[in-house]
Symmetry: C2
Amino acid sequence: MNVGEVAALAGVTVRTLHHYDRIGLLSPSGRTAAGYRQYAPADLDRLHRVLMYRELGFSLEDVAAVLDDPDADPTVHLRRQHALLRERLERTRAMLAAVEKEMEAQHMGVPLTPEEKFEVFGGFDPDRYEAEAEERWGDTDAWAESKRRTSSYSKDDWLRIRDEQTAVDERFVAAMRSGAPADSEAAMDAAEAARQSISRWFYDCPPEMHAALGRMYVENERFTATYETVAPGLAQYVSTAVQANAARQSD
Amino acid sequence: MNVGEVAALAGVTVRTLHHYDRIGLLSPSGRTAAGYRQYAPADLDRLHRVLMYRELGFSLEDVAAVLDDPDADPTVHLRRQHALLRERLERTRAMLAAVEKEMEAQHMGVPLTPEEKFEVFGGFDPDRYEAEAEERWGDTDAWAESKRRTSSYSKDDWLRIRDEQTAVDERFVAAMRSGAPADSEAAMDAAEAARQSISRWFYDCPPEMHAALGRMYVENERFTATYETVAPGLAQYVSTAVQANAARQSD
DNA sequence: GTGCGGCCTGACGTGGCGTCAGGGTCAAGG
DNA sequence: CCTTGACCCTGACGCCACGTCAGGCCGCAC
């Protein structure tokens, strides 16, 4: 098949196929003597995957990365696409619910505050966070359970969660400011409170998993930044305290 | 509120707010003496709508257009956003179903042909088509009914529909090639078959509605192009035949 | 008064194509 | 055999929605 036919079949422009060729994302497996691009069935398969991932918000660079991954089991792609689509379904449902809530509120003359509107929609930027979390945690059970649980949380639930987390952070800060070392009883107790909070609201988080999380607090810039804005040095402090607490429990 | 606070609340960057200000999409209603942008609650409302429409795929120019529409009843926006989100939900569901079908096929060792894959996904470019149809038909009952019905169609159904439409087109072509005028009995019979096909597969299409469709065949470049690729002059021929048929029925 | 974080305005860079310009290719009809 | 019109090629520039510095002005805490 030549470019025009492929473009018509896939619903893209010829220019798009040229572009994918030039950047090396999808080069046709053959050319005619005159230089015409010739696409083989395998090329169509690849194009299909490209378009799927593109639709799901991947950059073309990322698409190339996942498609050229040597562990290129085709079922991996299908499973990942399935997971991402389900996520998108959830997100769309949430937005739909938010709009319906707004309609209702407006109908009853109860104006929502701007905060309430942004809370669900943009607010804490669910899209990027979810993408990163998904990438990091793959399809672990914890991630699935967290998704399942949090999907039904109300605004009040989220407020309570935030307050609880703030309170735990305060305990860490207080311990640190008092001069107690990160593996002191006070710090470890705060870590334990944090672990239980996670288990209560998101997913069952045994000490070993919490220790892994603790390592991430200093390895991952995002988490580090979060803690460092609360108090300088807090990321390292919390990380150490969490791992110490996990070690204490396994004794 | 100043830019930083607004950006954090809405989950966008400061640069984005600067951009929206410069292009006139969202200018803060005030400035401090030092030139700091000051956002009022009304500005946040507008930002909220901007982000909604952006998320739904509108260009910033189009966002400005709908938001500055003088018929700026807030309920209009909510209703439109609601409709668009439901569409997106449908589309995501369809893609999810397609992926599941692929998984199943792969699991059972039945390889799908490339055509089958693209059929649902890209194929006839549902996104743009839907967007245009929605714009054109607003939220008419016909549109809603069509959506409702077609959402449950299987691949075999679509194949049958395509064959049926091809057959009807062939009747038009044959009539035209035979030299029969567009308001001849043969042409009008073909038109009637087309009308019944629409009613059977998409929505109840009475003669008047079909006449309106007929006018669109020559007014809308897309439909014109479709028919003209089958045979030159066919668009005008079909258009005339459809309207003649509608007139015949009302007698 | 001196940091230090936040704000300002240019100005250039980037990703994913759209859109000509200038020219070769190929199958059908005269 | 030749022409004609549809399709293909390769640059090269344009565009949108920002990202990313650079250079400099607030503002408030110590």
